[in-house]
């Protein structure tokens, strides 16, 4: 599987497929399932400083083309980071700790705790609202992206990955993240969405509104990665509706060096990781490349 080995965001991965934050990465048991599923790195649930129960149920609604969720950043808080990191390190896998703060200070604290716990990289969740921001997510404001990433990168030596949704000024936000010290970006997070049951005549999610993930958002993810890679030849981790080798390859061709699988782990099961890896191997043979790195951003060539 040497051909699938890839370096991204300072991590050395035996293949490019990891889980997306929010899928099974909040407790050791879940991490073990991810390890057994064959991910090349473990991405944790987003940790906040204080423990969070999360939003009232329903927190996830299956749709024909994806998943609608409003989990509410349920997590055990900053003290829960180490036991999750340990489980991943025990399995010999790189671990990316996702952090979500409502202020720069919180991001700094979480970053330090993640580094102390032994994280190999930090993924900054910019899709949560900022206490002093004016938008639904930090990523909307490039200057907030700068200050949050800076607060994270300035207190730690491990690589910082900025995770963004498809915001209006995405390329600008990525530029700010890079200026502030980000080593890479993850694109994209969920799209703002909701569902109303027409008989009950009410929103189904406990939080009323939430995020859409899965196949429905894949074409948006492709474009986000393509547009950012066109502007910056940086390390991109692609996420958004990856469910098989083809959707994974599409993100790589757009410019991603690695991909995250979220919804498909839920709807298709844990075996999807192995299926994607095997499919990518066959694909690489068919198209005649020895290393997947030769394919990164290939769609940009004439």
């Amino acid at each position: 599987m040497a051909g699938l080995a890839v370096r991204v965001a300072g991590l050395t991965l035996r293949h490019p497929v990891m889980n997306a934050s929010g899928i099974l990465g909040s407790h050791p048991e879940g991490v073990k399932l991810l390890v057994d599923a064959g991910v090349s790195a473990v991405v944790t649930k987003s940790f906040t400083v204080e423990p969070r129960e999360g939003y009232p149920t329903p927190i996830a609604v299956p749709l024909p083309y994806g998943l609608l969720n409003a989990v509410g950043l349920s997590n055990p808080g900053i003290d829960g980071i180490s036991v999750v990191v340990e489980e991943a390190r025990r399995a010999g896998l790189p671990v990316v700790v996702s952090i979500a703060g409502s202020s720069e200070d919180e991001f700094s604290r979480l970053a330090s705790a993640a580094e102390e716990a032994g994280a190999d990289a930090i993924e900054v969740n910019l899709s949560c609202p900022h206490a002093k921001g004016m938008g639904r997510e930090i990523g909307i404001e490039p200057r907030l992206v700068y200050s949050v990433v800076s607060a994270t990168a300035s207190v730690t030596r491990i690589p910082v990955i900025a995770k963004l949704g498809y915001v209006d000024r995405l390329v600008e936000a990525v530029g700010k993240a890079l200026e502030a010290g980000a080593r890479a970006v993850t694109l994209i997070n969920t799209l703002p969405a909701m569902m109303i049951d027409v008989y009950a005549m009410k929103p189904v999610l406990g939080n009323l509104v939430g995020g859409l993930s899965g196949p429905a958002i894949h074409p948006v993810a492709v474009r986000a990665i393509y547009e950012v890679y066109r502007e910056y030849r940086i390390d991109i981790i692609g996420a958004g509706g990856v469910e098989d080798w083809r959707t994974a390859a599409e993100l790589v061709l757009a410019g991603a060096r690695a991909v995250q699988v979220g919804t498909a782990l839920v709807t298709r099961g844990l075996r999807v990781i192995g299926e994607i890896v095997q499919g990518l191997e066959r694909y690489m043979e068919e198209v005649g490349v020895e290393s997947i790195e030769e394919l990164v951003g290939a769609a940009h060539r004439d």
Binding site: I59, P62, P64, A200
Partner: protein, 257 residues
């Protein structure tokens, strides 16, 4: 193809009311999920939350639920079942047993957790006995029609129906110990613990399965809230009916022996 789906449902009638319990019949307004025995749903009460329930019965047209009041959402369901609700399905792992004989020990609302399994086993030719217990006769829900012809033996704490005692007492009174035949137990934790203990002492853990309860939030296997303590299992993926041989650690933690 799709493992999970959302379904709008509408209340057809209230089948039965008991003290802090209700049996409800809903119908699916569009498509219906295909539930196997052992599997469960998240039932969304608009204006309240979504709670995990194992249906007494579910097919293309009918969804029958037995609900016991345990918190605000179940209290709402029991007192004032909504005309319209939502179902997220299909959660959990299918449970199948195909030996000659099996028994179910169902304490209280635990009978809902095992009804479809009992029915399917009985209809497949397994000799099935369901031991169904509650505090008194008034709290025994009329579930027989959903048990597929299985034999039902009642037990009540106050003796107002069937044997005076627990379902475990009733099992013993019938001449059986836990693990003599394949046994599935659902109900309050002390019942699960005692059943485990009995099977363990007889060296018959592989003939026992317990219906576990945990908090359930996403129901789809990604949020981790339904982790069955100490086992590495997620209830919404691997349960709720779990073979006893996988529950040693859980028992040590959860049962005061």
């Amino acid at each position: 193809m799709q493992r999970y789906s959302y379904h709008s449902v509408e209340l057809v009638r209230i089948l039965w009311r008991g003290p802090r319990q209700v049996m409800l019949e809903y119908r699916y307004l569009d498509s219906a999920p295909s539930l196997s025995p052992g599997q469960f749903i998240l039932f969304w009460v608009p204006g309240s939350e979504a709670i995990p329930l194992t249906p007494l019965y579910s097919d293309a047209s009918r969804l029958v639920l037995l609900v016991v009041e345990r918190g605000p959402t179940t209290a709402r369901l029991v007192s004032s079942p909504p005309r319209h609700a939502g179902v997220i399905a299909v959660l959990g792992r299918r449970f199948t047993y195909r030996g000659d004989e099996m028994v179910f020990l169902a304490g209280g609302v635990g009978v809902a957790a095992v009804a479809m399994a009992a029915r399917e086993a009985a209809q497949s030719g397994v000799r099935v006995t369901v031991f169904y217990g509650a505090r008194s006769a008034g709290e025994l829900a009329p579930v027989e029609e959903f048990l597929g012809g299985a034999r039902v033996i009642y037990a009540t704490d106050d003796g107002s129906r069937g044997l005076r005692g627990t379902v475990l007492d009733a099992l013993h009174a019938s001449g059986l110990r836990v693990g003599d035949v394949y046994t599935v137990v659902a109900g309050p934790k002390p019942l699960l613990c005692r059943a485990y203990s009995e099977a363990a002492e007889a060296g018959q853990l592989e003939r026992l399965a317990l219906s576990i309860e945990t908090m359930v939030r996403c129901g789809l296997g990604f949020c981790g809230s339904c982790t069955i303590p100490c086992t590495g299992m997620l209830l919404c993926r691997d349960g709720p009916v779990v073979p006893a041989v996988r529950l040693g650690c859980w028992v040590v933690r959860e049962c005061q022996n």
